[in-house]
């Protein structure tokens, strides 16, 4: 088993190094193939580990080597394969495999093809470190690793110039990459503080040792650690108010959006909360947990509302990711950790599928993402249409697809906890989710053809790409059917992840499900009536409505990015300018320069001594000797 763990962990790393060898040379197709195969191997290893865990229930824990050993401080490179991490490993490696194969087709014409695969595999490696580590420091290394890879990949097309915010809300790939990185850095500070608090009070960074000591810690410590760690999770999982980077990160290539900014990396925050579930289920941090649930619900609603009016295909999917992350946090905050993890896995499958389908559309439309320029693409791109419809049905939460089971369970949890306001919001959001995801499907694949007039000639993606996407499509359909067995699987971890609905809720479960379905269907029907029809009733752009207050508010993301620019970025720039011209140039540089100038001037003045005349030198020597004698005499007299 131990070897399988190493294979799962290091196969992507080898793939990354291999691709990096060719990083600077021209496109070589085998680089992509080798990287994909290595990720596939990692997936097979992960799946075998998962199967083994399912059958025997033995948690694999290994210590690869000592890492830091300083005084009392000991950290090892250790890995743990338990029910939580194996779920993540399987999901990550599976989605990565599909995305790698997809990228061979998608990045076909890109001259930095090899570099792309190097980054992508490096990301998978970092993610594996993140989920498999058995201590907080290893998690943090993986956490930063995925951050760096995300930065590299969002800014992959760094040569694109900056645009005005009105033309392109994400300005440019390099701008978006920096935004993502800096925002995550702010949150990571919180996470680091959380880790420090835990280490300070427990003397260890190992999960099991830390969690074993939790009952002996004071309430304030527990609260501080829980809040600080959650701030880290908020950054990585793009929760309000650190959410703006996620939609801007759509500047990266679509496979990146699918893998990193939908399926895996952004779920790291949820993973952290689930991993630290013994901490978050302590009674002392009840308030924090409830805040997590409330914030999650708020973000679910908030992001869904912005998706209602968005025209950019990828940004809609990004909003839906935000919204679904909100659902996951709602479940985790309410204590239903396993439901959150299950939704995470199901969401990874259908969201990656949705993104890859979006990538196909983008590829076909020559990087055009404006839904208003599409319509009736279904006759050109049948395979993509089917995939995206499937994924959208799953996202909208209709039975029997994956999204229904997991999302319904989350909504039911909110009901079960008697947090009826959260429940109402989540149900409403489910309806909005159905509306915007089908608005996007109908605008792009149904209705009147709007692209021919604009001179687009869309074509379907390569066959092998469509075939590679099929595992995701299958999983988007069937994942939900295994919810019961997954529950039994993950319950073996212990009491802290177990969550059962009360008898009362159980009794009402069917009605609650029906309410959700009703909202979802209503959303879809409205979207259909508005956007899918052809002929006389076809959708037409309503310029007048686009000037309305709410439309503009949503379109401008509630002016939050504007607010950040005006009240954070600009003052910060001004302050930096002051510090640069006044403090750095005048004081810091001034001091250093004047020291240098003093010596330079002294040298310049005294160099006339160097006449080359021995007699002069002897005179100076005598002066020096007299001086020394005087000093000696004076000091002797004083001493």
């Amino acid at each position: 088993m131990e070897n399988l763990v190493y294979v799962a962990l290091f196969a992507p790393f080898v793939g990354s190094l291999f691709a990096a060898l060719f990083g600077m040379s021209e496109r070589r197709i085998f680089v992509g193939i080798v990287a994909s195969i290595l990720i596939g191997i990692a997936f097979l290893a992960s799946a075998t580990l998962a199967y083994n865990l399912l059958m025997t229930g033995d948690v694999v824990q290994i210590r690869m080597m000592d890492w830091i050993s300083a005084g009392d401080f000991n950290v090892s490179f250790g890995f743990v394969v338990d029910q939580i991490s194996v779920t993540m490993m399987t999901v990550v490696s599976l989605v990565s495999t599909v995305v790698h194969i997809y990228a061979i087709g998608y990045m076909d014409h890109d001259k930095s093809f090899n570099r792309f695969f190097s980054y992508l595999s490096a990301f998978v490696f970092s993610m594996m470190v993140l989920v498999m580590s058995d201590n907080f420091l290893g998690l943090f290394i993986g956490w930063e690793g995925v951050g760096v890879c995300s930065w590299l990949l969002v800014g992959f097309w760094y040569h694109k110039p900056d645009q005005a915010r009105e033309d392109n809300p994400s300005i440019s790939p390099s701008w978006a990459a920096n935004e993502a990185f800096i925002m995550n850095r702010i949150a990571d500070l919180g996470m680091l503080v959380g880790i420090f608090i835990l280490y300070w009070n427990t003397g260890s960074l190992q999960y099991d040792e830390v969690f074993a000591q939790l009952p002996y810690l004071s309430d304030a410590v527990l609260k501080g650690a829980a809040i600080a760690l959650f701030i880290g999770a908020m950054g990585k999982s793009a929760q309000f108010p650190l959410h703006t980077w996620l939609t801007d990160a759509m500047e990266g290539p679509t496979p990146v959006s699918a893998l990193i900014h939908a399926a895996t990396m952004v779920t790291a925050g949820v993973f952290l909360v689930i991993r630290a579930n013994p901490l978050y289920s302590m009674e002392a941090v009840e308030g924090v947990s409830f805040f997590i649930a409330s914030l999650g619900t708020f973000v679910a609603f908030y992001a869904a509302s912005m998706a209602l009016v968005e025209r950019d295909l990828k940004r809609i999917i990004a909003y839906s990711t935000l919204s679904q992350l909100g659902y996951m946090f709602a479940a985790a905050g309410l204590g239903a950790y396993w439901i959150a993890l299950f939704h995470l896995a199901a969401h990874a499958f259908f969201k990656a599928l949705l993104f890859l389908g979006g990538g196909n559309v983008m590829h076909a439309m020559h990087d055009e993402l404006d839904l208003f320029k599409m319509g009736n693409l279904r006759k050109e791109m049948r395979g993509t249409w089917i995939y995206m419809t499937l994924a959208s049905v799953a996202l909208a939460g209709l039975p029997p697809l994956a999204g229904f089971w997991s999302k319904d369970a989350i909504i039911e949890t909110a009901f079960n906890e008697h947090t009826y306001f959260l429940w109402g919001m989540l149900v409403l959001t489910a309806g909005m989710t159905a509306f915007y995801s089908f608005r996007q499907i109908f605008l792009s694949f149904h209705g009147e053809d709007r692209y021919t007039a604009l001179g687009f000639h869309p074509h379907e993606m390569y066959k092998f790409v469509l075939v590679a996407m099929s595992p995701l499509a299958v999983l988007a359909v069937i994942t939900g059917w295994f919810m019961g067995s997954y529950k039994a699987f993950i319950y073996k971890i212990g009491e802290s992840v177990q969550y059962e609905m009360s008898a009362h809720t159980h009794h009402l479960a069917n009605y609650l499900g029906l309410i959700v379905i009703f909202f979802a269907v209503t959303g879809i029907v409205i979207a259909y009536l508005k956007y899918a029809r052809t002929g006389e009733k076809a959708w037409k752009r309503d310029e007048e409505k686009e000037q309305g207050f709410f439309y503009k508010l949503l379109k401008n993301q509630y002016y939050v990015p504007k607010f950040y620019e005006e009240f954070i970025t600009k003052p910060y720039m001004m302050l930096s300018e002051i510090f640069w011209t006044k403090v750095d140039l005048k004081i810091v540089d001034g001091t250093v320069d004047s020291i240098a100038k003093f010596f330079y001037g002294a040298g310049d003045k005294t160099r006339s001594m160097q006449t080359g005349n021995l007699s002069n030198y002897l005179n100076w020597m005598a002066v020096g000797a007299v001086l020394l004698l005087t000093i000696a005499a004076v000091s002797a007299m004083i001493g």
Partner: protein, 100 residues
């Protein structure tokens, strides 16, 4: 009665004469002479103090200095001859070639 202080005064006067010679003379040969005067001034002081304390170490040291001075003059004069052959002069103002 001639005491220690007389010797030391002589020694100091000789040393000062030598020092002035080193500082004021321009001819290298004269510099050498001046240096010898200074060395011998020190020798006188050594011998006088040695006698005063009844300790022979000072006088031995004077012998060492005489020996070292002799060999130094031998080497120095050799260099002077080479310099003179090369430049045709031993005047320090003519020999200044390394101006800073």
């Amino acid at each position: 009665m001639i005491g220690l202080s007389h010797y030391l005064v002589i020694s100091a006067i000789l040393f000062s004469i030598g020092l002035v010679g080193v500082l004021r003379r321009r001819n290298l040969l004269m510099l050498f002479f001046a240096t010898e005067v200074m060395l011998n001034a020190v020798n006188i002081a050594f011998a006088a103090i040695s006698h005063y304390y009844n300790d022979l170490t000072g006088q031995m040291f004077a012998f060492f200095i005489i020996a070292v001075a002799a060999s130094e003059v031998a080497v120095g004069l050799g260099i002077l001859i080479v310099l003179y052959k090369k430049h045709g002069s031993l005047d320090l103002d003519d020999l200044a070639s390394m101006r800073g």
